[in-house]
C-alpha cells in the first residue's frame, strides 16, 4: 500500500480544479491537521484531527476501508472543490470543523463530566442554536457582567418567569458569551423525568437542584445558576408579573455558605411577557402530573403557533456579589441567618427589577 499510486487532489488553496501536481494543503487544513503527510493516503491514515491525544481506535481494523478503493462512489476531490466553491476558503475550514465534530460524535470521542455535561455538544450545537433567539428575537441587553468573577466559583441567583424556563437558557447563553465560562444550572426534578428535555439539559450543563449537587459544582469552581422561585415563579399569573415569589427554602444560600462562594443576584426583565399566563387547566395538569397547563392569549387557541414566544425586549442585570465567606463556621446550619441572607438576595433582585422596569421604554422595544 505504501507504493500505491498517489492521486493528487486539491488545488493548493486556490479556487479551480486540481493542478495534477503534488499540492500543499490549504492553510486552514494545515491548522487543523498539524504536522503530517501530504498525500491522500497519508491523510486518511495519519491525519485524523486528534490522532495524537485520543486513544487509538480500531478504525484501521475495519477491512478495506483504508485501501485505495475503499470509499467507492465517493469523489472526495470533487467534494473538496464543491465545498470550496460553495463556502469559500473560510467555509472550507468551517466544513472541516463540522466534519471533525460529526466524526467525534459518531465515534463517541468526547468527554462528559460527572454531571453529564457535554461541553462539545453545548458549544457546537446547543448554544449556537439558542444564540439567534437571544440576540435577534429577545435582543438581550446585559449589564453588570463584571460582577461575575472571571475565575473561581459563584452562585448566580435569578428571578424565574415566563411560563417556560427560557430565562434559564437565555442566561446560560449570555453568561457563556460574555464571560467565556459555562453556566451550570440547577433544574427541577420534573426536567429530568421528561424524556429529551432531561437528556438535553444534562448535556447542556444542568443537574438536579439539590444541595449535594450544588455544593459539588461550587467546590469544583463552576459558575452555578439557580432560579429559587421554581415553578411558583414560572407559572404565576400575568397579573403578578415581576412580583418575586418565595425563594424556596433558602437551600441555595446554605450551599453558598458551606462552600464560601459569592452570590451574584441577577434580575431578568422581559421574560414575564413571552407567554402571558392568563389561565391554567388545573385538572389536566393534575392528570399529567405537571405543575400547570398554561393558557396564554395564543395558546392553545392558535395551536403550535401559540408556542412561539412573544418578542419582548430583555434586560439582564447582574448585581454586586454578596460575599458568604466571612460568615462564621456553621452559619449554614443557622436557619435564621440563612433566611436573612435569602431575603437580602430577594430584596436586591426585586429592587433591581423595579429600577429596570422604570428604565424600560416599552415591552417590545
Amino acid at each position: 500500500m505504501a507504493d500505491a499510486d498517489v492521486i493528487p487532489i486539491g488545488s493548493g488553496g486556490r479556487p479551480g480544479r486540481g493542478s495534477g501536481r503534488r499540492t500543499t494543503p490549504s492553510a486552514a487544513a494545515r491548522a487543523l491537521a498539524g504536522p503530517g503527510g501530504r498525500t491522500k493516503k497519508k491523510a486518511r491514515v495519519d491525519k485524523r484531527p486528534d490522532a495524537g491525544e485520543t486513544p487509538v481506535e480500531p478504525v484501521g481494523a475495519v477491512p478495506d476501508v483504508d485501501g485505495p478503493e475503499a470509499p467507492a462512489g465517493f469523489d472526495f476531490a470533487g467534494l473538496e472543490q464543491a465545498v470550496r466553491g460553495l463556502f469559500g476558503e473560510d467555509g472550507e475550514r468551517r466544513v472541516a470543523e463540522w466534519l471533525a465534530f460529526l466524526r467525534r460524535r459518531l465515534t463517541g470521542e468526547y468527554e462528559l463530566d460527572e454531571f453529564g455535561y457535554d461541553s462539545d455538544l453545548t458549544d457546537q450545537v446547543l448554544l449556537p442554536m439558542l444564540r439567534p433567539m437571544v440576540e435577534k428575537w429577545f435582543r438581550v441587553e446585559v449589564r453588570g457582567i463584571e460582577n461575575i468573577p472571571s475565575d473561581g466559583s459563584a452562585l448566580i441567583v435569578a428571578n424565574h418567569s415566563g411560563t417556560m424556563p427560557l430565562d434559564g437558557l437565555v442566561t446560560q447563553v449570555v453568561v457563556a458569551d460574555h464571560t467565556g465560562r459555562p453556566l451550570r444550572t440547577l433544574a427541577a426534578d420534573l426536567v429530568f423525568q421528561t424524556p429529551f428535555v432531561g437528556e438535553l439539559s444534562r448535556k447542556g450543563g444542568a443537574t438536579l437542584a439539590n444541595n449535594d449537587d450544588a455544593e459539588r459544582l461550587l467546590r469544583q469552581g463552576n459558575l452555578v445558576g439557580v432560579w429559587p422561585e421554581g415553578f411558583k415563579g414560572l407559572g404565576k399569573p400575568f397579573a403578578e408579573r415581576y412580583k418575586l415569589q418565595r425563594f424556596g427554602r433558602g437551600g441555595f444560600v446554605s450551599a453558598a455558605m458551606r462552600t464560601g462562594v459569592p452570590i451574584v443576584p441577577c434580575s431578568i426583565v422581559g421574560a414575564e411577557e413571552i407567554y402571558p399566563l392568563v389561565g391554567n387547566i388545573a385538572s389536566l395538569a393534575r392528570l399529567l402530573g405537571v405543575p400547570y397547563i398554561p393558557i396564554t392569549p395564543f395558546f392553545p387557541l392558535l395551536g403550535p403557533l401559540g408556542l412561539i414566544p412573544l418578542p419582548s425586549k430583555w434586560l439582564i442585570e447582574f448585581g454586586e456579589p454578596i460575599r458568604t465567606d466571612d460568615f462564621p463556621d456553621g452559619a449554614a446550619d443557622d436557619p435564621m441567618l440563612v433566611f436573612n441572607v435569602t431575603d437580602q438576595v430577594r430584596e436586591t433582585i426585586q429592587q433591581t427589577l423595579y429600577t429596570l422596569l422604570m428604565q424600560r421604554r416599552s415591552v417590545f422595544f
Binding site: 486518511r44 476501508v65 476531490a77 466534519l99 462528559l112
Partner: protein, 330 residues
C-alpha cells in the same frame, strides 16, 4: 476463604489471592465445581445456603472470608427465586457461620453500586453516606440492599471483625460476562427513547485488585469503587460503533423479554431503570481512606472491553467521514 468461585469473578479473585505469597491457603467454596483453572486455590464443594458452611469454616480454621457469591443474573442462577435464595439466604447463612467462628477476623463483601438505585431524582454523584432516592423492588438492586443490611448487622454483633463492603460499579473487560457486557455485544443496541444514562465502569483487573487490597489490608467501612469519569450510554454505544435502536420507555419491558427469549442478554427491571437514568458514585473515599487507585478510567475500561468485540456497522460510516476529512485537508 472465597465464596462463589465457580463463577468468573470469584475465580479470578481467588486466584489473585492464591498468587500472593503472604496469604497461606486460599479456600474456594461453591456449589458447582469451577470450570476455570483455580491454580493454588483449594476447592471445597459446599453450599453457603446450608449450615454445613459453618463446619467448613471451623474445620479449616478460616480467618478471612471474602464473599463474592452475590449473583447478578437470574439466568445463571436458575431463575429469580433461586438467585434471591443464593444472594440473601446464602449471605445470612454465611454470616451466621462467621458469627459463630471466633477465628474469623475479616470479612470482605463484594457489593454493588446498584444499592443506590437509579432514578430521575438522584443526585449526580452518590457518596457512601447517601441513601437511595428510588427504591427498587426487583432484582440485584434489592438483593444488594438486603445483603448489605445483613452485613451491617453482622458488623454490629461482631465488632472485633474488620468488615469491608465494596460497592463496585459494573465490572467490564474482555473476560467479564455480565448482563451489561452482553447488552453491549448485541448487534443493534436498544436504548430508552429520550434518556441518556450516565455510566461508570470498573475494569475487571481493578475489581480483582481491589478485593485483594481489601483482603491484605485492614480497611473497615463501605467504599464506592469505580473508574474515573463517566460515559453516557449513547456515547458508549457510539464508541462501539453499533447502531442504536431507541425505543419508548413503555416498550422497555417487552423488549427486555424479547431479548431474553432470543438469549442475547438478560435484563431485570432494575437494569432497565439503570440504563434509563444511570448512576454516578463518588470515589473520593476510595482514594483517601481505602487507598486504592484504579488503573483504568471508565473510558479506558470500556475501550479495553471494546477491543474484545468486533467493530460495528457505524464504524464504517465514521471511516468514510475520516476519509472525507482527509480529502478536505488536501
Amino acid at each position: 476463604m472465597v465464596t462463589g468461585v465457580s463463577r468468573d469473578a470469584g475465580a479470578r479473585c481467588a486466584r489473585r489471592l492464591a498468587d500472593d505469597p503472604s496469604i497461606g491457603t486460599v479456600l474456594g467454596v461453591d456449589v458447582v465445581p469451577p470450570r476455570a483453572e483455580l491454580g493454588r486455590v483449594r476447592f471445597v464443594r459446599a453450599d453457603i445456603r446450608n449450615p454445613v458452611i459453618a463446619k467448613v469454616i471451623a474445620a479449616e480454621d478460616v480467618d478471612t472470608v471474602v464473599h463474592t457469591g452475590v449473583v447478578a443474573t437470574p439466568g445463571s442462577a436458575g431463575g429469580r427465586s433461586s438467585m434471591k435464595e443464593i444472594n440473601v439466604i446464602g449471605t445470612m447463612q454465611l454470616l451466621a457461620a462467621c458469627q459463630k467462628a471466633p477465628g474469623v477476623a475479616k470479612l470482605v463483601v463484594k457489593s454493588s453500586t446498584t444499592v443506590y438505585g437509579a432514578g430521575a431524582r438522584d443526585p449526580a454523584m452518590f457518596t457512601e453516606e447517601m441513601a437511595p432516592r428510588a427504591i427498587h423492588h426487583h432484582g440485584l438492586s434489592k438483593d444488594a440492599v438486603e445483603v448489605e443490611g445483613y452485613v451491617r448487622g453482622f458488623a454490629r454483633r461482631r465488632p472485633d471483625v474488620c468488615v469491608s463492603t465494596l460497592r463496585m460499579a459494573n465490572w467490564i473487560g474482555p473476560k467479564t460476562d455480565s448482563p451489561i457486557t452482553r447488552y453491549f455485544a448485541m448487534p443493534v443496541v436498544p436504548t430508552v427513547f429520550g434518556y441518556d444514562a450516565r455510566l461508570q465502569f470498573l475494569h475487571e483487573d481493578d475489581g480483582v485488585e481491589a478485593i485483594h487490597h481489601a483482603t491484605v489490608n485492614d480497611l473497615p467501612g463501605t467504599f464506592n469503587l469505580a473508574g474515573d469519569g463517566v460515559l453516557s450510554l449513547s456515547q458508549a454505544i457510539r464508541r462501539l460503533g453499533r447502531p442504536t435502536l431507541r425505543l419508548p420507555s413503555f416498550t422497555a419491558s417487552s423488549t427486555a423479554a424479547a431479548v431474553r427469549r432470543a438469549r442475547l442478554a438478560d435484563f431485570s427491571p432494575d437494569q432497565i431503570t439503570f440504563l434509563t437514568y444511570g448512576r454516578g458514585v463518588d470515589t473520593t473515599r476510595m482514594r483517601t481512606e481505602f487507598g486504592f487507585e484504579p488503573k483504568y478510567s471508565t473510558a479506558e475500561a470500556f475501550d479495553d472491553f471494546r477491543r474484545s468485540l468486533g467493530t460495528g456497522a457505524m464504524t464504517r460510516v465514521s471511516s468514510l467521514l475520516t476519509a472525507g476529512l482527509g480529502a478536505l485537508r488536501g
